[in-house]
């Protein structure tokens, strides 16, 4: 387990370094004591909506936790529809969908209460759909991980078999439809 932990930590560190440096691999990372590195990942296109929230990061089983979801945008006109979905077992009370006039303000908030009776890690999926005056539609999907209880995170279930790869590492063996002839 120790070696696995180590590998995981290294993996995360490598990603962080990759995000903070901008171009070629020999470019510097932030100097010591420097300010927080900005994220330098190259993301896919989507609606110009920025998502934020004030979720505390921890909820007790059965506790109803209020969360404020904030959507900032820079559109001059149009409408934005927010809808939400959640993993089975996570309850929320937001009436759907929520419609916002993009001309009225640059930032829009929604209050939502989340709760789950059973410990685990649940995901809230938040869909932002922007409809512009010219009929163009843009979308972006956001997610919020809701950690209920102090036990292990959501079981990342996998029904695939794994096996040691003779070339090193592991293989996830996926089922196939096999057609045979002799």
């Amino acid at each position: 387990m120790n070696s696995i932990k180590t590998l995981i930590l290294l993996g995360i560190y490598a990603v962080f370094v990759g995000c903070s440096s901008s171009e070629s691999p020999d470019q510097a990372i932030e100097s010591e004591g420097a300010k927080e590195a900005s994220s330098q990942t190259y993301k896919k296109p989507g609606a110009a909506v920025r998502f934020d929230h004030n979720y505390s990061g921890q909820t007790e089983p059965g506790e109803v936790e209020p969360v404020v979801l904030t959507f900032a945008e820079s559109y001059e006109a149009g409408t934005m529809t927010i809808s939400v979905d959640a993993d089975a077992g996570l309850a929320y009370d937001l009436a759907l969908p929520q419609l916002f006039d993009l001309q009225s303000a640059d930032s829009h908030e929604l209050e939502i209460n989340v709760s789950a009776p059973t410990e685990g890690r649940y995901y809230l999926r938040i869909f932002a759909e922007v409809l512009l005056p010219d009929g163009q539609m843009e979308r972006r999907v956001f997610g919020l991980a809701v950690q209920v209880g102090a036990t292990q995170d959501k079981a990342i279930t996998s029904d695939e078999k794994t096996d040691r790869d003779f070339r090193g590492g592991e293989l996830i063996l996926l089922p196939v439809e096999e057609n045979r002839k002799k």
Partner: protein, 918 residues
């Protein structure tokens, strides 16, 4: 060898493995003769085999059968089976093989009788001869024989010698791979060979209990000791003590005590020769055995008896027919031996004969050349004649000879994956449009039951593969989610699961025997969609991603066949979702590229991207810039009509353009939502945008696509294809430009490469409100609404006039300020010769305390020392040495550009930058 050390555990039973073979075969030849010959089977019709893996018994173990080739090495797998709770492994398919067999068992647990602990069973092996329906046994004693043979580099010698050596040492009559030990000590009544076997196992258990060593270590210790053919006195002492304890425990059973005594006699009789005279046991613990000495016959009137022959090479084939061998045991030293070999194909005439004198009771006869003998049944006849000319019984054993070549068979087929179509109107996935498409360029391998590769290849452009494996070998076909080429063009990419230790995805077919003729095995990776949801495994996803990358690379290779694509790691998982947290849990936020890898969403009913080809191709475009060209983009979030830092606008515009170019489809789609039934699209061919300029992703993508395509529309008169675009990106002039990457640098290089295109380039640029020229955008008049953005580069010199650079968050609303137009400003500095300089930045406008920072770039490169990020308010100073050349100084107010800044809270700030001699 060190004596065995006491251990805490006592186990009263050790591993036994029994292979039960039953079938329609008529019984095979026996390679073990003790005064009797065996029957012969000419045809290998296949044996039904099962195995009992017993260590208390051993539950959940795994056993596999292997051939042993003529070189005494482990060869192909013949079959594998798990063991039941009772330790029984049933080999369901007939074993089409006759010859030396390696039985290898591992895994599983047993309950130790003494402690009640559940313990792991050690790996246990045996070498035996399979040529009939057989019942085999695998124990630590067969493991000892195996290890001794392995040390000699010839597993066959286990069969021909070491099995019998070990049997003799531990007083086990018969073949230790065939005698099934009596189940329990309470069942011992007659002193059969099965009873002796059990007692030997109990001895091992006792040694285990008396020593801190494990069973495995004891076995290895004995093997080390026996390597010189005897047991040393220290170990003999330990063994004797253990036997004394066992005998003491059985003190109420005189018969049992006698059996333990006989076991001790057998062991002690195998002491190292040098010690045999010094220390012996007479069975009663005494060392003076003179009372027990039997008188030596002065006249030998009895013929040699009790000798045996075994291990005749079987089958005899093309590979081993000139190196046939057999073994002799319990032969009378000093006697002479004669052997004769007959072939049924040669009318029962002698084909080979030989003789010799017995110098050791156990010996091998090797190197017999039967290459001239006809194929068929080979019979070996053997007898001893002692020095008194008393002839012993003639023993016979048989073997099968077939000198036909052992060949290969082909396994071929096609590998496909389900591609889910898309709705180009709304971007949703269309599950009514699922087609099986060829998995091109993926690695396909034939592996044995242990997962060892026997052969590998890559699928061709039609998804077809062809492999060759040895006939009658158990194999399965695997298609790995990877593409590797080391040809004129090279690439190495794979799809792994970032939520499962970065394991590589692979399709795996069933285990089957390659048989004696060619096979066709085709694999299809299903989408997992069963009508309303993904209820089956999404096997196709990794291959759909690879296929999109294949298309993109293929597009480039069509214009330049010798490209070497750097390594690319792609991570996808059905757990990859839109939350931003821990990528090992799948919280990747969105699909993105970073430092040689890209991460792709797979969250069903949230956002999945494995079938969104434009997204895959877009991220590949970032990989291409990063790894094969140059990108100065600072990344971050973006949308089509944002006003962005020129580096970001160009980089993202390139990503969108290459997706349209590579897929020959300008309509970008992205599916999402419940059932993947939602999505959005935009047309990269579209030239009319709400945001136009050198800071617009939409402008960059439409210019790049119009340069490529052969459609003339609006201002587009260019149809240059991909080749000049690729050439610009990889040319050193582009990669080493002094200016930061932008649409200006690209168009400037394009104009140089294709001189006649200047007018066409200019028209495209003007259509997008880009009117500057040269790599620095000289003459640009479109300031994007922020006057201070122009000129793009403010020229500054050492000890020259200062320049004003500003930071503005006007376009940060609705997104972060990290990469917005105006957030950062640029100066251009020429250094004539290496010198020390001081760069001072002071605020000249902007309410409140500000935090000016600076990064120095040279041809797109920077180093740690060139990043000046003190927390000083309204001021920043940098001192250092710069070599001759041109530099870009990027200045920004950290209060504005940091990701936690709240847009709309700060007015613009401007700073005066001065460069002086240091």
């Amino acid at each position: 060898m060190k004596p065995y050390l006491p251990i805490a555990r006592l186990s009263t039973a050790v591993c036994t493995l029994v292979l039960l073979a039953s079938c329609g075969g008529s019984g095979g030849s026996s390679n073990s003769g003790s005064g009797s010959g065996g029957t012969t089977s000419n045809a290998i019709s296949g044996f039904d085999v099962s195995a009992n893996f017993i260590k208390g018994p051993v539950s959940g173990g795994f056993c596999e059968l292997f051939r042993v080739d003529s070189n005494g090495s482990r060869s192909g797998s013949l079959g594998a089976s798990g063991a039941s709770v009772e330790g029984l492994a049933l080999f369901s398919d007939p074993i089409e093989y006759s010859g030396t067999l390696l039985i290898q068992c591992s895994g599983g647990t047993y309950q130790d009788e003494a402690t009640g602990f559940t313990l792991n069973a050690p790996e246990t092996r045996a070498v035996a001869s399979l040529n009939s329906d057989s019942e085999f046994v695998v124990t630590p004693f067969t493991e000892m024989a195996f290890q001794l043979a392995e040390a000699q580099g010839d597993l066959g010698s286990s069969l021909t010698g070491y099995n019998h050596l070990i049997a003799g040492i531990f007083g086990i009559d018969g073949d230790i791979t065939r005698v099934l030990p009596t189940a329990a000590i309470g069942d011992i009544e007659e002193g059969t060979e099965a009873d002796h076997y059990l007692l030997a196992l109990l001895l091992l258990s006792r040694l285990n209990a008396d020593s801190p060593s494990s069973v495995r270590e004891i076995v290895t210790g004995l093997v080390d000791d026996l390597a010189d053919d005897g047991i040393d006195s220290d170990n003999a002492t330990v063994i004797s003590a253990a036997l004394e304890t066992l005998a003491s425990d059985a003190s109420g059973n005189e018969f049992l005590v006698e059996l333990y005594s006989a076991l001790e006699t057998a062991i002690i009789s195998h002491l190292d020769d040098s010690l045999a005279d010094e220390e012996t046991s007479c069975g009663d613990g005494e060392t003076d055995c003179s009372e027990n000495d039997e008188p030596v016959d002065e006249v030998d009137q009895s013929a040699p008896i009790g000798y045996s022959i075994f291990g005749l090479t079987n089958p005899i084939n093309l590979a081993n027919q000139s190196e046939v061998r057999f073994s002799v045991d319990d032969a009378e030293v000093g006697a002479s031996y004669v052997y004769e070999l007959y072939s049924s194909a040669d009318g029962q005439n002698v084909v080979l004969q030989g003789s010799g004198t017995v110098s050791a009771s156990a010996f091998n006869v090797t190197g017999l050349d039967l290459s001239q003998a006809g194929d068929g049944v080979i019979e070996l006849r053997f007898f001893l004649t002692d020095e008194a000319n008393n002839q012993g019984q003639t023993l016979t054993v048989t073997s099968n000879k077939n000198s036909d070549p052992v060949g290969n068979v082909a396994i071929s087929g096609i590998v496909t994956f389900d591609r889910v179509g898309r709705n180009s109107i709304n971007g949703a996935l269309d599950y009514n449009d699922i087609s099986a498409e060829p998995a091109r360029g993926v690695t396909v391998e034939a592996v044995n039951s242990s997962g060892t590769e026997l052969a590998s290849t890559a699928t061709d452009s039609n998804g077809q593969y062809h492999l060759e494996v040895t006939e009658h070998t158990y194999v399965r076909i695997r298609a790995r989610a990877e593409m590797i080429s080391n040809d004129v063009a090279s690439w190495n990419l794979s799809v792994k699961d970032n939520t499962n230790n970065d394991a590589l995805y692979a399709l795996q077919g069933d285990l089957f025997s390659s048989g004696g003729e060619d096979n066709v095995r085709s694999l299809n990776a299903g989408s997992g969609w069963t009508g309303a949801a993904y209820t089956n495994t999404r096997s196709a996803a990794p291959f759909a991603i690879l296929d999109t990358v294949y298309k993109v690379m293929d597009k480039f290779l069509a214009v330049h066949p010798d490209i070497n694509f750097p390594k690319l790691d792609i991570f996808w998982s059905r757990n990859n979702n839109s939350a931003s947290s821990n990528i090992n849990q799948g919280d990747i936020g969105t699909s993105y590229y970073s430092s040689g890898s890209f991460y792709i969403l797979g969250d069903e009913d949230g956002d999945t991207d494995e079938y969104d080809e434009h997204i895959i191709a877009h991220e590949w475009g970032h990989y291409f810039e990063d790894r094969m060209s140059r990108s100065d983009s600072i990344g971050g979030s973006h949308s089509l009509n944002d006003r962005l830092d020129m580096r970001v606008a160009f980089g993202e515009g390139w990503g969108n353009a290459i997706s349209a170019i590579a897929l020959d489809d300008p309509v970008y789609t992205d599916s999402s939502g419940p059932g993947q039934a939602f999505g959005f699209t935009f047309d990269i061919e579209e030239n009319d945008h709400s945001t136009k300029g050198w800071y617009s992703v939409a402008s960059a993508q439409s210019i790049l696509y119009d340069i490529y395509d052969n459609q003339s529309d609006d201002a587009d008169t260019l149809s240059l294809g991909l080749s000049p675009i690729y050439n610009i990106f990889i040319t050193p002039d582009y990669i080493n430009t002094d200016y930061l990457t932008s649409i200006f640098v690209f168009l400037d290089k394009l104009g140089e490469v294709i001189p006649g295109s200047a007018a066409g380039i200019g028209a495209l640029a003007l259509e997008q409100d880009i009117n500057g020229t040269g790599p620095d955008g000289s003459g640009e008049t479109n300031n994007g609404g922020i006057a201070e953005t122009l000129p793009l580069y403010k020229n500054v010199s050492v000890d020259g006039a200062s320049v004003e650079l500003c930071s503005n968050e006007q376009y940060g609303a609705g997104k972060d300020n990290h990469n917005i137009l105006g957030g950062r400003d640029f100066a251009f500095l020429e250094i004539a010769f290496t010198q020390s300089v001081e760069i001072v930045i002071n605020k000249v406008s902007g309410e409140g305390a500000r935090d000016p920072d600076m990064t120095i770039w040279k041809q797109g490169q920077t180093i740690e020392d060139w990043i000046s990020e003190s927390p000083d308010e309204d001021h920043e100073t940098w001192n250092g040495q710069l070599s001759s050349g041109n530099y870009v100084l990027e200045v920004y107010d950290y209060n504005i550009t940091n990701e936690k800044a709240v847009p709309g809270t700060l007015e613009p700030a401007c700073f005066e930058l001065t460069v002086s001699t240091g």
